[in-house]
Each structure stands twice: as C-alpha cells, then as structure tokens.
Symmetry: C2
Subunit: 417 residues, 2 copies
C-alpha cells in the first residue's frame, strides 16, 4: 500500500516544517495500530481538551459521507459545541462500511468516554484511507484506551505526520496574536490531496487555540473562514466522503469567553486565523497529486460572490486549462471556454482576462497588446495567477488549484494492492 | 500544428468507415484553403440543399460561444427553419475574435447567398480550430465562391474527413428506413474530442435525410434525440464554444411533409435517427483524447431523469473514477464518492452498484458476494459498464465517457506552435 514515503516530496512544498507556538490546555498522543500493512508509522491520533473547551466544525457535503462525519455533525448539534476528545485514525476511512462502521465508531466513542469521563457528544472522530473495508471495532477503541496514559503536550510534527496518508509533506501552520490583551495561540494541522490507495483525496483539518471562545463563536468563525479558504481549493473537483474541519478553543489562555462572533476585539484574532487557514489550505493544493504549479484564480465583476465562485471553480477544475498550464502553455482560449461553460451570467464581450499582470483578452477578443512571450512567462513559474473581470457587478471570489500533470494519472491509476 | 494524422488511431475506432446510403437532394464539395499551415488537407466544406429543405439544430450552451453559433441560432429563429447552404471550415474556430469574426461571417454568408440566391437565414455556418485568432474575412467567403461549381453528390468519406481536426478517425453513420411507405435515408457526420491545437475539443455534427419533414419536426426530433445522445457524452467536462448539431431534411424522397413530431408514422424513422445519433455520439467518445476504454454509465431509481443525469455525469466526469478505470482498477469506492458529491437526492444506504453485471455494493456497504476478481474483470476490457440504482424513484439516465490516461495530459499539454 502506497504511503507518503513512496512519493517524492512535492516541488511546491514549504522549505521546512514551521515553528509552532504552544497551545495551552491541549494534550496529544500518537501511536501505530498497524493499519498500514508492512509499514511502521503512526496511524492513531488522540487529543484531549480541558473541561469547557469549545468546538465548531464544517464537513463534506457528500451524500455518501462516512458515519464519522455524521457523528461529528450530530455531536455539534446535540452537545452544544463542547469537546473533550478527538480521535483520528488513518489507513482506513470507515466510509461506506455500513453496520461495521457504525459499530466501530460506537466502540471508539465508548472508549474515549470511559477514559475521559465525558459525554457522548464531547467526542469527535475522523478516519481517512480505504473506503468500504470494514475494520474490527476493537482496533481503534482498544488503541484509545492503550495510549491514553501517554497523553502530553503535543509534538505538532508528530501530530501532523500521524494524519498524513499519501501527503508528500506534513502540513501545519500557526501564529500567536493578541486577543483582549492576552497572548493567544492558533495552530492548525491538515492532511489532504495525497491519495491513500485505493481511494480518494480526503482533507482532515484541525485548528486549535487557547483563546476563550464560546461554542457559537467557534462555529461562526470556522464557517466564515472555512468558506474563504478550504471551500476555495480544488485539486480535481472530486469530493471526499470524509472531509472534516474542526476548530477547538480550550480557553487556557484565560479571561472571560467571547460570546459574539462579531465582537470587535476579535479583529486581530480573526485575521490571524484566516492567515493560518489560508496557509493550510494552500499547502493542500501544493501537495495536489502530481502538482508542479499552484494556480490562484480571481474572478471579479461577477453578478454576485456566489456566481464569481462558480466561475472561478469552473476555471480551476477545467482539465483543459490545467493541462495547458502544466505545459507552460498560455492557452487563454481555454480559460474563456471555462468561463463560458457555467450557467452563470457572463457577457462574452465584457470579459477582461489577465495572466499574471499581462492583459490577454478584452472586448470579446484577444487584447491588441497581447504578447505571447509575456503570457507564456506568466504561466511558466511555480506560481500562476489568473484574473478575470466579468464587467457585470461587484461579485468576487478567489480559488486555488494546481496544474494537471501525468503524475496525477499515474498516482491515481496505481492499482490497489 | 498537430492534426489528425499526427496521432495514432484510437484503439476504440470502428474497424472501417461505414457504407452509407445516398441522401437525395444534397450536394457537397470539399476543398483546401490552406488553413493548416504546412499541411495539404481539406478544410472547407460547402453543402447545398434544394429549395424547401428544412433544418433544426441544437448548440453549445456556452456564454462565450462563437459568432457562428449565434448566427445559426438566429437563422433558425428568424428564417423559420429552411436551409439552402452549409459552410464549415476547420483550422480556425472564429471564436472570441470580436469584430473580425463578425466580419468573416458576414462575408461568408454574403458569398453563399450570392451563389445560391437564397435568404440570409438559409445559410448555416460553423468553424472549429484555434480560438481567438482572427482570419481575414475573404478567405472563407472567397473559397465558397471558388468551389461552388464543384458541388455534386457527396463523397461522405471526404465530407467526414474535411471536418476532422485532431480526430484520429473520420466519423459517420447512416441507415435507410421506411417512412410512410417510402424508402428514406439518414446520414450523419461528426467531428469531436480531438483537440485542434491550441484549443478545446469541439463537436460539429450534421445529420441529413431526404425525408420530407416540416421545420418544426426537424427541430423537435433533433432536440429530443440530441438530448439522449450528444447531450449524454462527456470526455472531460469542458464545453466548447462552437458545438453545433444541425439536422437537414431535403424532402427529395418525395411525399407530403410530416408536420407533427409525434405523428405515429415517424416511429421507425425516429428509432433509426436515434441509432444513427447514438452511433455518432459514441464514436466521439471512442476518439476521446488518450482514451483506451469507453464507459457506459446507467443511473436508475433516481428522483427524476434530470437528477439521474446529473449523477451519471458526476461519475462520468470524475477524474478519480476515470483514472482508476484506465488502470483496470475496480475502484468502486470512487464511484460511491462521485454519486455522493452532487446536490441531488441520494440515500447512502439505499444505493446499489454494479460493475458489468457484478454486484459490488448495496445497503451502504460492499456487497457480501463482492469478488475483486469479478469486479476487476468488469473494468479490464475496452468496454466498461457501470450501473447504479439509487432506490429512490423512477428517474433514469445513460451517459457515455472514456477513461482518463496520461495520453490526455500529453495531448492537451502539447505546446501551441
């Protein structure tokens, strides 16, 4: 079974794992349950939060999502947004496993409750890996009980490595920021865009802070900022059955919890959280299967923000656009095609298009000042920027994707073994 | 510039060009205008229809479509569905060429009217090839006048070859059928899924009959049957700016024209027309860039036919599904993922899935009788059949696509020259 170590590190990877601050109140432990046959690597992450920790989350919209996702959503709804335990396993996604998957999760939650003496809805679970392969229920639940005594201050690099599947590098980001005259930390880890054979890219993402935030603030901020970051990345237009983004706030930095997501004291915190999420989300794109370039697409002048996003995603998901950029081909006609193919309002003759800062098209035709050399230069580096102004309204969106190389086909066509 | 002859013939191509019947009343001529630099090949097709010929058509839904498409649509609307001339050029799509493209089409239509003494709305035009490169207006219009005297009984193989771009084989199909006690012919030619550098796959498709059909019948039949055939094929989810499907009926077989598309006398004709269109449409899929397999996807038990089609297209356009099938990997989890990722109604635990006639999943889990060997066999040949029953209603759809190989990336990443 292919894992991260079988693949060369993405050429778009950051130079090194970041220095990360301590996040007060969090304990973590990682362990190997042997879910990767023939490999010794951590595949179980258990995290423990202090009493009163808050949580918010957003999840895959898939109709064929895993029971794990359903349980996290139910826990947020029924439990009012408090969290004590997070359990993540890699090597098996527990998706489309029917009754066996439900039994596995029930056992995991029971073990976590037993160890932490918490409520059912204070346990959050995720899994990533092969779809449709049932696991005996006691493997993960037994693991939780066995490793519990090892909980301690998180080693973020171990945590980020533990949740990797075929990611070619461990993904984390963090900041410290002033909130209400206290120094608070934000740290996030993510996995994604790597494939675990034989299945789909999955993103699992966890953000932690020691700020004191009420549950409704956690939920409001992760919904709002997740929409501007994680919901703006695409590798291949496919949607995982397991995508999960959870935001935990321990309150260990002290102070009265903030109860209003629009509290002006949150401004600096929100900006930092936005940067951390954007950093993590674009790291996922940088690890897209076979990616050799990261592409940022801005659509402006659309009828609405939602319309701009549909059009930006149409460009970002077009195989013809992505293969051209992989080849360093300034094929702007394909971008025009991708803009035109959605059902959103577009007026052909009002469209203006730039590659980098080079104007390539306007007024329904190639720009008179178009330079093949300048346009080619704009798509030749590792970072490509495409901007379209539809000239219709004030809607705007920003989306990130990667190019489409034969590496993608090779990675995703590799037979399960 | 790459053309058909640079690429090896698709392994999915029919063994030979079909024998085709004569279609009374039609004249055609093909010619080389030199639009393919450094290649001698026909790139201009002119066809002439007798007075009173009917026409119907369907077109790309792209907002950035070419002026050629706009003119055909306008002609159908303003002219009431009569046709005298069809002019097609390859080597340049005339899309996103602004005022130059409009001038080119005005000149072409003027020349066609001069030669055939017909109305403005009786001339239909198409073009395929590079986007955004203006052509001097007199090249095609001059060609129409120069070749007019060469019009004669169509050589279908020449016609089908003339409209090819990077198609690896010429596409045609035809039948003779009894209509109202007369022997009538249907012949269609198509191009598509090949790329003309540097731009997108474009389908151009023309169907001809000598049956006597009123314009409203032509339009109703091509709309209805186009929807079941051309609108059910996908190679890469990208939508051309030039897609055109026109249906011409000369009436040369004699008899009173049929005026009601639901006239019971049409039953045999409609069935034959459906077969011809399905044959042409699947030939386009068989020539998908880099294709090594053709995949038929049936979705049943959906909330509606429209819902079934969205879900079938989600499977057909999933890069993860298509790369797995290219590799002969029975990766049914990816099909579950693709079914789940749309906004259409899907109940995870009511889904039933077959690869070929092998049951792979039901009741929200892998089928107890699942056999990796049987599932793998079902995706190993050149023709793959996937069926999903959603268990919700009576909606159904059938969609064809091809697999996704590194050949696609290579063909579409080739630099423009």
């Amino acid at each position: 079974m292919a894992t991260a170590s079988d693949l060369p590190v993405s050429p778009l990877a950051p130079a090194r794992f970041p220095d990360l601050p301590k996040v007060g109140g969090i304990e973590a432990v990682t362990h190997s349950l042997g879910l990767y046959k023939g490999k010794v690597r951590d595949d179980l992450l258990v995290m423990h939060f202090p009493e009163g920790a808050s949580v918010g989350g957003i999840f895959t919209m898939s109709s064929t999502r895993s029971d794990d996702v359903d349980r996290c959503r139910a826990a947020l709804k029924a439990g009012g947004g408090t969290a004590r335990v997070l359990v993540v396993n890699t090597g098996n996604s527990n998706a489309f496993t029917g009754a066996a998957g439900i039994a596995k999760n029930a056992a995991t939650i029971a073990s976590a409750r037993k160890m932490s003496a918490c409520g059912e809805h204070e346990v959050f679970i995720s899994a990533t890996g092969v779809i449709g392969e049932p696991l005996p229920p006691q493997i993960v639940s037994g693991g939780v009980e066995a490793v519990w005594s090892g909980l301690g201050a998180p080693d973020w690099q171990k945590v980020a490595n533990c949740i990797r599947t075929t990611d070619t590098f461990a993904k984390a980001a963090g900041e410290t920021v002033d909130l209400n005259r206290r120094n608070v930390s934000i740290v996030g880890v993510a996995k994604g865009s790597g494939m675990i054979q034989p299945n789909m890219a999955t993103t699992l993402n966890y953000l932690f802070t020691d700020a004191a935030l009420a549950p409704n603030v956690c939920q409001a901020l992760i919904s709002r900022l997740g929409d501007l970051t994680y919901n703006c990345i695409t590798v291949d237009s496919d949607t995982s059955t397991s995508d999960t983004l959870l935001f935990f706030a321990t309150g260990a930095a002290g102070g009265e919890p903030i109860h209003d997501p629009d509290d002006p004291r949150l401004a600096g915190f929100v900006a930092a959280m936005h940067r951390v999420l954007e950093d993590l989300a674009t790291q996922i794109v940088r690890d897209g299967e076979g990616a050799s370039k990261i592409i940022e697409i801005r659509v402006e002048g659309a009828a609405s923000d939602a319309s701009a996003k549909v059009i930006a995603c149409s460009i970002a998901n077009s195989p013809l656009v992505k293969t051209a950029i992989a080849a360093g081909d300034a094929n702007w006609g394909r971008v025009v095609m991708a803009i035109g193919k959605t059902a959103e309002p577009v007026e052909r003759d009002q469209l203006t298009l730039w590659f980098g800062d080079h104007l390539v098209a306007r007024d329904g035709a190639r720009a008179p000042t178009y330079s093949e050399e300048a346009a080619t230069r704009a798509v030749s580096g590792q970072e490509v920027f495409i901007r379209a102004d539809l000239g219709l309204g004030h809607g705007r969106a920003r989306v990130w994707t990667c190019d489409f190389t034969d590496g993608y086909v090779k990675i995703n066509g590799a037979y399960r073994s």
